[in-house]
């Protein structure tokens, strides 16, 4: 634990410094990132929903903040917050569903923020809902939202398990498009097959940067890439060393 702990600490510190530095240095310049269709389509869907007066359904999954899945949930909340800003002009604000109390509160705050910002009429607490407290009851509770509430597109972003298949299937039945990402591999596999725009792996966490390029978001992507190559090198080198019997 000890050297591992120190190494981990070093890694965290390093990435923190990198992120802060990049965010500061690059605050005006804007690095280019590869295209992710899902986000392009999402931006489009947002515009359309405002145009059509239809709703966006953002589902934040059922992972709690206490679990390691919290990162996915937090990323999802960021997306929700952004979407809420973008659609605050719409007369049909987005509806957010989630399967965890704390996440529900966060999504309420996100929507409330955009409502305040938009000075639009009255905040509808029903816009951010907890639809169930167990994975499948959460999914089951989200089904009626997809079916009944004139939802034009579903954004499933957070921590889902296999139950996500129910959501994508219902969305497909209702001919609404689905953009989905989960940190759970099984769920990703399902989404890979069933969602119109799956977000694979860490693309889920890039949502912030792709939806609102604030220095810290872009910086965090760059940091991810740096760490990525760092890890690649480390693995390669130490594998060779292992092979040579040094390590």
């Amino acid at each position: 634990m000890n050297w591992v702990g120190l190494a981990g600490f070093g890694l965290v510190i390093l990435s923190a410094i990198l992120m802060a530095g990049l965010a500061f240095l690059r605050r005006n310049s804007t690095p280019v990132f590869r295209e992710i269709t899902a986000f392009a389509r999402l931006r489009k869907a947002i515009g359309l929903s405002v145009e059509e007066g239809s709703r966006l359904h953002i589902s934040l999954g059922r992972g709690g903040l206490t679990t390691p899945q919290s990162a996915a949930e937090l990323a999802g909340v960021e997306v929700l917050r952004r979407i809420a800003e973008l659609t605050s002009a719409s007369d049909r604000p987005p509806v957010a569903t989630s399967g965890d109390g704390a996440v529900t509160i966060l999504s309420q705050d996100a929507l409330l923020a955009s409502e305040q910002a938009a000075f639009s009429t009255g905040y509808d607490p029903a816009a951010a809902r907890l639809t169930g407290l167990t994975p499948f009851s959460y999914a089951a509770g989200a089904l009626p939202v997809i079916q009944d509430e004139n939802v034009s597109a579903n954004v499933l972003i957070g921590s889902f398990g296999v139950e996500v298949a129910l959501l994508t299937d219902t969305a497909e039945r209702g001919n609404t498009s689905t953009m989905a990402g989960s940190d759970n591999l099984s769920a990703q596999a399902i989404l890979y097959a069933s969602a119109q725009d799956p977000l694979i792996g860490e693309e889920l966490y890039a949502a912030g940067a792709y939806l609102k390029a604030r220095p810290f978001h872009t910086a965090s992507l760059v940091v991810q890439d740096i760490l990525r190559w760092l890890i690649v090198i480390v693995i390669l080198v130490s594998a060779i060393l292992k092979l040579a019997g040094v390590l």
Binding site: L11, V32, F33, E35, L74, G132, F136
Partner: protein
């Protein structure tokens, strides 16, 4: 005793009905399905809340407050206060007051995420892919190296596939040539991985279907 039997019997009947009602979704959305899932949501939520009370709130918060030593009480006061603030989130008007509590949770949650990511995944996974090349850990060397190198290639290319940084080209942003090639390979690995996972989920679902069908059948058969 009799009550117990009745209870079990009722349980079986009800679960039979619920199975049918939920499976009716195969035909399409219908009132029975709705009825089933709404009850299901209610029951599961109520149950989860009961568990949360009996397994968390009561033993961890209120027992210390009531029976605990002074120190325990003092410690329990903090979550009590934060909990109160959290309850402010019930109304949009007072929601603002709950922010510190949420900030506390988010902060802790983020830390858990970071810690878990580094110690729970990053290191172990990296180490595992390295250990493949530990020839001292037995196994046929050639096979081990073969598998090891495949795993290595797969892991690294998959990792590269996610590379975000790109250069600008006439046909949109692109990674460098090397990255392009690697991520192509990575894409294949990802597809294979998902294929396997998907098959796993599918078998799980299939088993569930079989289990349900045999349950239904056993119930029906129990009458003859």
């Amino acid at each position: 005793m009799l009550a117990g039997i009745n209870l079990d019997f009722v349980t079986v009947i009800v679960s039979f009905l619920f199975t049918l009602m939920v499976l009716s979704y195969l035909v399409g959305d219908n009132p029975f399905f709705r009825l089933a899932i709404y009850i299901f949501i209610g029951v599961s939520a109520g149950y989860a809340a009961a568990v949360a009370w009996h397994q968390v709130l009561w033993p961890r918060l209120f027992m210390p407050l009531i029976y605990g030593s002074t120190l325990e009480r003092a410690l329990a006061l903090v979550p009590l206060l934060l909990g109160m603030l959290l309850l402010m989130k019930l109304s949009p008007r007072t929601a603002r007051l709950g922010n510190p509590a949420m900030a506390f949770m988010v902060g802790a949650g983020a830390a858990v995420a970071v810690g878990g990511a580094v110690l729970g995944t990053l290191f172990p996974q990296a180490q595992a892919s390295i250990n493949f090349f530990d020839l001292r850990s037995g196994g046929i060397v050639s096979e081990r190296i073969f598998e090891g190198s495949i795993v290595l290639v797969g892991t690294l290319t998959t990792l590269v596939y996610f590379n975000f940084s790109a250069k600008v080209t006439p046909s949109g942003p692109r990674g460098s040539r090397l990255v392009e090639v690697l991520s192509r390979i990575g894409q294949v690995f990802i597809a294979i991985t998902f294929g396997v996972l998907f098959a796993g989920v599918y078998t799980a679902a299939m088993t569930a279907l079989i289990e349900r069908l045999s349950f239904l059948w056993n119930f029906i058969a129990s009458f003859f």
